[in-house]
Amino acid sequence: MSRAGSTDLAVELREVSAGYFVAEGLKALRRKYVEVLRGVSLRVDGGERVAVIGESGSGKTTLLKVVLGLLQPMRGDVVVLGHRIYDIPERERWKVTRRIGYVPQDPFRALNPRLKVADIITEPLSRLHLPEDEKEERVRAAVKMVQLHESVLNHYPSRLSGGMMQRVLIARAVVHEPELLLLDEPTSALDVSTQAQVINLLNGIQERLKCAMVTVTHDLAVAQYLADRAVILYKGVVVEEGPLDEIVRNPKSEHARVLVASYTLGVSNPPIPASFV
């Protein structure tokens, strides 16, 4: 199913500040507000591939929650797929979020061990009122797109390896042909060889669906394969943004410079394998 040229805005955050209330003192009589994101602005157009790069504590998880409609920011505007998502009452937000494909970080926590893979992947289609056979078709197509064999549909998550679980999650995220794909550390839990497979897979999918793809990661090297533009988060603030290649070549902010340097492992040049050149 084609989508008319997605030049619409997928996500826009304008000067968003968000945080959490933390219970303080005995019996949580008082609650302190801890700000995690400060004045963050982000814009993702339809069909764009953007990376949000941040390490632990940078606020990237909070950013995801804000985009998913799970955490109302204290300040700022949030527009997701054309809707001001926080103007919609919580119970109705699914009408927007169901157009998003979200792949969470930990596959062990994202798959219901009591459901078969087929049911897991079919779930996002439940509100679409499609005839049974069309649902089945889509599920099978999704499984093929993630390069898994159909037989996996009958298994329970316990039978799957880490890489397979990740693919099932991706299949679930794309079965309803989302306009926006949100990936939370899609390769962090994977082995190097599986990581490469998943990276190639994700790019293939994004090309086919022509959806906007936002990858949240701490790994700059992986990000360069999954995004054209990047936003670097540090302690809740955007310290740099722009085309990823630019940032890598010429980092402007202090943090970005340190980050880029640590990937080339600084000091002595590591021997570069012959096949690289």
């Binding site: 998913l68 799970l70 699914w94 009408k95 979020t97 169901r98 998003i100 979200y102 969470p104 930990d106 062990f108 926590r109 994202a110 798959l111 219901n112 061990p113 009591r114 459901l115 897991i120 779930e123 996002p124 439940s126 509100r127 329970y156 998550p157 316990s158 679930r172 309803h176």
Partner: protein, 302 residues
């Protein structure tokens, strides 16, 4: 990696769990055997009893000459003070025993699971209210409730069953709440909600489905404990009428004659014990099988 898989497996396949337990644990086999015997007796009881009428509590016509006989070939378990064959009474009693505990545990399990899961899922005021209510019931001992019901409603099965349900469900509610709290934070619940799956469906498909297995195993062990409590309530005369074919009642009948005719109380007592033990063994070994880490530590020390 395998240890994690084993834990996953037990959630997905109860039968697999049982099969594994059967292979590995002698306790499981012993327990299942005991339970199997008791269930068969419960089903076939009235047909196996040599004196079925005695079993149901009817005093035989030739009571005077029959009464108080010690175990002999004619009456393998002896006769009670009213001349009834104790063996028959015990065999028929199996049915009531299992009916009582099945009713109590299934209803309180269902109620407790639902309350705990709702509290964890809906959070906020619902959570506070449900927890408060279950705490109140948690504080009430079955005996006290039974006493009150007995006075209000008179004798009968309903007294035993209702008082036990009212005092047991909060334990399952609490257990369920604890597990459900962890499940509710799982990403698969979040994914379901983002996809627009209605709350009730999420509650059943994701939360209850994953809270059930661990609590269920606890419930199996509880069947034994409930039997002991139910027998106690009947023993005290707070539940079933004095002629009812219930093990607790039979023990009570024989209590006055405990020195002169010990067999009246002894045999039903042994059956109560054996049944409770059976369920306890089954539940215990299932629980052990579910938790692979504990198993490995056992090997370390033994």
């Amino acid at each position: 990696m395998s240890a994690i898989r084993a834990r996953f497996n037990s959630a997905a396949g109860f039968l697999d769990l049982a099969k594994r337990a059967w292979k590995k644990s002698a306790r499981f086999r012993a327990g299942t055997l005991l339970v199997g015997i008791m269930v068969s007796i419960a089903v076939l009881g009235p047909h196996l009893a040599p004196y079925p009428l005695d079993g149901w509590g009817v005093v035989p016509r030739n009571a005077a000459e029959r009464a108080g006989k010690p175990p002999c070939p004619e009456f393998p378990f002896g006769t009670d003070s009213l001349g009834r064959d104790v063996l028959s009474r015990v065999l028929v009693g199996a049915r009531l025993a299992l009916v009582q505990i099945a009713l109590v545990v299934s209803v309180s399990l269902a109620l407790g699971l639902l309350v705990g899961a709702c509290a964890a899922y809906y959070k906020g005021p619902v959570e506070a209210l449900l927890n408060y209510v279950s705490e109140i019931f948690l504080a009430l001992p079955a005996m006290v409730i039974a006493l009150a019901l007995r006075l209000a409603l008179g004798q009968g099965l309903h007294v035993v069953v209702v008082s036990l349900i009212l005092s047991w469900w909060p334990w399952y509610a609490r257990s369920s709440y604890v597990y459900a709290r962890a499940v509710v934070e799982m990403e698969y619940v979040l994914l379901a909600r983002l996809a627009g799956v209605p709350g009730r469906t999420v509650l059943f498909r994701h939360v209850l489905a994953n809270v059930l297995p661990p609590v269920l195993v606890q419930a199996i062990t509880d069947l034994g404990s409930v039997l002991l409590e139910a027998s106690a309530i009947n023993f005290l005369g707070l539940g079933l009428p004095p002629d009812a074919p219930d093990w607790g009642i039979i023990v009570q009948n024989g209590f006055r004659y405990i020195v002169s005719m010990p067999w009246i109380s002894m045999f039903p007592g042994v059956f109560i014990l054996a049944t409770a033990l059976g369920f306890s063994l089954v539940g215990d070994s299932l629980r052990e099988e579910m938790d692979p880490k504990m198993r490995r530590r056992w090997k370390l020390w033994f």
